[in-house]
């Protein structure tokens, strides 16, 4: 019995998400990482992922597959079942060895909304895109690498330029922080919402990374998050 607890704890404290479903797709058991993951992806979607990648007969199937939920990317999954009653899914995280640091030389104190306005106006001069804007104007002036920020933001507006309508929400994330060089920063989030699935290209991610922006999608949403450096 002690041995059983030990294995359960191993799974519980694993850095990779683990979920166990019953045959109807209900979650029977999950670890901490999976709990976090479920904030960004539905149980149904993960169950589908498990079922569609299960081996033909009882057993385990490992598959290399590129997935991204919220900020986190995954490079592989493991699906296993030994009876008709339950199926297990484990996702393998991509761990970045990039050091989270900021090049202060290129940062300039600026009003983020004027940059958004500038990017929007210059990229959408001949577009009919309507944007519902919801801005938290209490966001203070913050230090931004203006050039790289604009290049990334331009890409976003260009991406949506053929849509009819999107909404853009800019706000401070409550209770979330980013730690860079041992300093804790609040986060400002720019969320673009449209009515179709949003997909990111590598180039897009590169531009975001150059601007210290975390970029990720969730179905019809594109999120940009950056630290508020004062």
């Amino acid at each position: 019995m002690e041995n059983q607890d030990f294995y359960e704890d191993l799974i519980e404290y694993d850095l990779n998400p683990f979920l166990l479903f019953d045959s109807n797709g209900k979650v029977k058991s999950y670890n901490k990482e999976a709990e976090f993951l479920l904030n960004f992806v539905s149980i149904k979607e993960l169950f589908q992922l498990a079922v569609s990648n299960a081996s033909t007969n009882f057993g385990f199937n490992q598959k290399y597959i590129s997935l991204k939920y919220n900020k986190q990317s995954y490079y592989a999954i493991l699906v296993g079942y030994v009876s008709e009653d339950e199926i297990a899914l484990r996702l393998y995280k991509v761990v970045s060895n990039k050091v989270n640091t900021i090049n202060n030389d290129k940062l300039k104190l600026v009003n983020i909304f004027s940059l958004i306005e500038l990017s929007k106006n210059s990229t959408l001069l001949s577009s009919d895109l309507k944007i519902d804007e919801l801005y938290d104007i209490s966001i203070p002036e913050m230090k931004i690498n203006i050039n790289n920020f604009l290049l990334c933001l331009n890409e976003c507006f260009i991406y949506f330029s053929n849509d009819e309508k999107i909404s853009l929400q800019v706000q401070i994330k409550i209770g979330e922080y980013e730690i860079i060089d041992n300093i804790k920063y609040k986060i400002v989030s720019l969320e673009f919402i449209t009515n179709r699935d949003v997909e990111l290209s590598n180039e897009f991610e590169q531009k975001a990374s150059n601007a210290n922006i975390n970029i990720f999608t969730n179905h019809n949403r594109l999120n940009l998050e950056l630290p508020i450096i004062l």
Partner: protein, 253 residues
Amino acid sequence: MKKFIAQSEASKKILNIAQMSSSLPVNVLIIGEIGVGKKLLAQNILPDASYFDAKILEETLMNGKFNIDEYKELIILNIDTVLNKKEFLLYLNGIKIVATSNRNLTDIESQFAIKIDIPPLNQRIEDLEELKKVYLSEANDIYNTNIDINDLAFDLSLNGNTLKNSIYKTVSMRALSDDDMMESLEFFISNKFNEDKDYRELLQYFEIPLLNAAKKRFKSQLKMATKLNLNRITLRKKLEQYFQETPDNRLGE
């Protein structure tokens, strides 16, 4: 410095973008057809910057004759004419650049955080009307005329460039006195002698405008002949000679 005219919605937005980018440490690329006002807009963004034609600057840079350290900001005209654009921009790294181009440049657009597309003048009706007024008023001042805007024909093929040219040309021609006309004709014909034209060949420069004016005014050959006090057979011969008029397409009688 001349003002970038912004009466249309598009131009107001453009001017707003220009003013905002003026104070930011980013490169700006201005794209548009010839004569839409790219250089003016660039000068609006960097009023104190030196400007260079890209092709000439490229050669100077390659020869090592350009002291980059002297410049913090630069206006570069027609960057599309540069052969190796990436290398060219690498040389200018650290300088704030406002560049103009007649076409989209996908290979280097990522070096410009702000890209401004200026639409052609015929898509900016309010600007066009304002520009017509400005050029006409300038031309009327210079030639001491009082020509009305409705009496002018405009050429927009190269946007502001040909617009200005066509207005000045029309106004200057309308301003000619009899003596001016004679003098300019004399100058013109004197040049034609260099081309070895004889009397008969030179006559067309008098007769074609004369016949054209009469055609427009009198409409029919009969009336033309009467008003010009010219034999109808002679008139028909002249029309056939200059306009290849046959009985099918000649003026109604």
